[in-house]
């Protein structure tokens, strides 16, 4: 593991983006599936500390907001954000964090619910608690409780060779 860059940058927020950044404390990080450049683009929208570590098979960028929320972004050697992870008091804004993949997660959630309701298992049973959906296109998980949310999402096709799902946490 090589320390790529240890930058403790308290970024000056421009007035135009400040409101969004504060309203959605976890939302302004790069979007799942974007290219690595989005890390730098979105950096300016966050007020916090950034640590980037080169894990050889991927680069992990972790930002910590003043409120203690963390967003971790996993960038492949090909330059794609293949995974995101989050933790903090509030759930992130998934529309912004997952971008186009948010719709895929919603569909997978809806399918899981429909399967439980129309299943051949009688009577129908419902899982109450952490969310875990895994499709060929997206794996999404969120756990925790009020005041503490943890979660991650990744795109299986974009995960670099040799990187395990358990590396994303």
């Amino acid at each position: 593991m090589r320390l790529l860059a240890l930058r403790r940058c308290t970024l000056r927020i421009q007035a135009a983006v400040a409101l969004t950044a504060m309203l959605l404390p976890l939302s302004c990080w790069a979007t799942l599936g974007d290219n690595a450049a989005s890390v730098m683009n979105n950096q300016a929208q966050m007020k916090g500390t950034l640590i980037s570590v080169d894990h050889q098979r991927y680069v992990l960028h972790e930002i910590t907001t003043p409120s203690g929320a963390k967003i971790r972004e996993y960038v492949s050697p090909a330059g794609a954000v293949f995974a995101v992870a989050w933790e903090g008091q509030f759930a992130p804004n998934f529309e912004q964090l997952l971008g186009p993949y948010y719709q895929q997660v919603q569909q997978a959630m809806a399918q899981q619910k429909a399967a439980q309701q129309s299943g051949d298992q009688q009577p129908t049973r419902r899982r109450r608690g952490p969310v875990y959906v895994a499709t060929s296109g997206i794996v999404f998980e969120q756990s925790g409780h009020l005041r503490s949310f943890h979660g991650q999402a990744y795109i299986p096709q974009l995960v670099p060779q040799g990187v395990k799902a358990s590396d994303i946490r």
Binding site: M22, F90, F94, M109, R125, Y132, S143, R147, H150
Partner: protein
């Protein structure tokens, strides 16, 4: 409150002089004719208080002053009765005597009930859920509560309210969502005088609706005039803001307030680690308001700050006594499950004979930061964040990519485990943590997972061996509660295990 009834007519002065002549008081032109007394409430627990008031009637320029006395306990010069400590029910007679004419007095009775060992026990039922649910509830702990319009006897019992150690605050489904609540409760307004609403995000859905106030009674405990949330459907007003639904993986489809079957209960009572649902994170200590509390105006609802007092409290922390946490006691459930289970939600930790910690181990948890409310669970040599949550209906941990973890079910049951060898006996260890890492000695915990396909084949509702996949954390849901004394201690409250927050089991 003392009211003077001016009865001025021709003979007033004559009566007044007569009164003067016989009583020798200081005003020759007035007389006190009667004193009546009322007290609220008329029933109090041992050592409780009741405010009494006297209405003095008379003629002329009479004095409304009274002297208070009580047959038991003590009463102040302003009529505040402090009832005695009793072991059997007692009727306490409060007397107000006119100071102008000590032969004129009024009385009222206040019933004082003993705080018996059962007054802090609410029965828990794990069963198939409320009528009309449409499916069989699985591993959900239900209680019945009483909700009243604040300060009135306009009340309603609500059954099948989920007990949740993973959240704080009482939230109820009105009839518009298919729930039971039909009382009309007063709206709570924010500091600008506009209605407050709340968006609460659970892991698998969200709820949205106005914040209102209620008196809440459960077992012998009462929470007076506390903010509660209504869980309203998307079709109701005010509508769900997008900043609310975007916090949920299910998006707009994740509104659990749309129907009884979506929510699965008539309400949820959060009796978790924290005194409020959001806490300092929603107050103006932060730069701008998170999308939790909303101010609603004619132009819509937008995130707003909410003071701690405006937020939904953990009802337990507002009780007069037994307010430092809860003990959930559920009997052991055999492999294969049980059709129904009866247990207890006991208020207080170490406050009465029935809620001592006994041999339970205390697991402190951080009160803030990314791991707020989490213990540390070690499985196969790896540490994970863990939490104890009666609102989760199974043991959710890791997935089959991790060595030693059961296989996930196939078909419609992929969110559950179906081990090939059933039961699959497993082991983990738990320890407390502070903001700087694990504390205390890890304590080994054995648990078993049975095939969900087998468990679900009948109509059982309670399972100690139900589990499902989750790759990053350990969720010790209701399955873990059976056969244990499970304590949840509230932040900043002292108890025999120290100051909360902590879990003990």
């Amino acid at each position: 409150m003392i009211r003077k009834l001016g009865l001025l007519f021709a003979i007033a002065s004559i009566i007044g002089m007569a009164a003067c002549g016989s009583g020798g008081t200081n005003n020759p032109t007035s007389a006190v004719t009667s004193v009546s007394v009322s007290c609220s409430p008329t029933t109090v627990p041992s050592g409780g208080t009741s405010q009494c008031s006297a209405t003095v009637s008379g003629t002329g320029n009479f004095s409304t002053a009274v002297a208070w006395s009580a047959s038991a306990g003590s009463i102040s010069s302003t009529g505040l009765l402090t009832a005695p400590m009793v072991t059997t029910t007692l009727v306490d007679t409060v007397t107000a005597t006119s100071t102008q004419n000590t032969s004129v007095a009024g009385t009222a009775n206040v019933t004082v009930n003993p705080t018996s060992s059962s007054s802090n026990v609410a029965p828990i039922t794990v069963d198939a859920g409320p009528a009309g649910l449409g499916y069989i509830a699985t591993n959900v702990a239900f209680v019945t509560i009483t909700v009243c319009v604040p300060g009135t006897s306009n009340c309603q019992n609500i059954d099948h309210v989920t007990v949740d150690t993973g959240s704080s605050g009482l939230r109820l489904l009105p009839t518009s969502s298919g729930g039971e609540l039909s009382l009309s409760l007063p709206q709570e307004n924010d500091s600008n005088g506009n209605p407050l609403a709340e968006c609460l995000v659970f892991l698998d859905g969200y709820i949205w609706g106005p914040v209102q106030t209620a008196d809440v009674t459960i077992a012998g405990e009462s929470a007076s005039n506390i903010p509660v949330q209504l869980i309203i459907p998307s079709t109701s007003s005010p509508g769900v803001p997008q900043s609310c639904s975007d916090q949920n993986p299910s998006g707009g489809n994740g509104n659990e307030g749309n129907s009884l079957s979506d929510f699965g209960a008539n309400g949820i009572i959060g009796v978790g680690l924290f005194q409020q649902d959001c806490g300092p994170g929603c107050t103006n200590l932060n730069g701008s308001p998170p999308p939790v509390y909303y101010e609603c105006t004619s132009s819509g609802c937008n995130p707003t700050f909410a003071t701690l007092a405006q937020q939904l409290p953990n009802p337990v922390s507002t009780f007069a006594a037994d307010n430092n946490g809860v003990l959930i006691q559920l009997p052991a459930v055999p492999d294969g499950g049980s059709s129904t289970v009866n247990g207890s939600l006991i208020f207080g930790i170490g406050t009465q004979a029935n809620n001592g910690l006994g041999s339970a181990t205390v697991y402190p948890v951080p009160d803030s930061g990314s791991n707020a409310g989490d213990i540390v669970t070690t499985f196969n040599g790896t540490q994970y964040q863990g939490f104890v949550d009666s609102g989760s209906n199974g043991l959710f941990f890791l997935d089959s990519s991790v060595a030693g973890v059961p296989a996930t079910c196939t078909g419609d049951l992929t969110s559950w485990y179906c081990p090939t060898t059933s039961p699959d006996n497993l082991m983990a260890s738990n320890q407390g943590q502070s903001t700087s890492g694990p504390v205390g000695t890890p304590v080994q915990t054995n648990f078993s997972i049975e095939s969900a396909q087998t468990l679900f084949s009948g109509s059982n509702t309670a399972f100690s061996t139900l589990g499902g996949p989750l790759s990053d954390t350990f969720d010790w849901g209701l399955s873990f509660f059976y056969g244990r004394n499970m304590f949840t201690a509230i932040e900043n409250m002292s108890s025999p295990g120290g100051t909360g927050p902590y879990f003990a089991f």
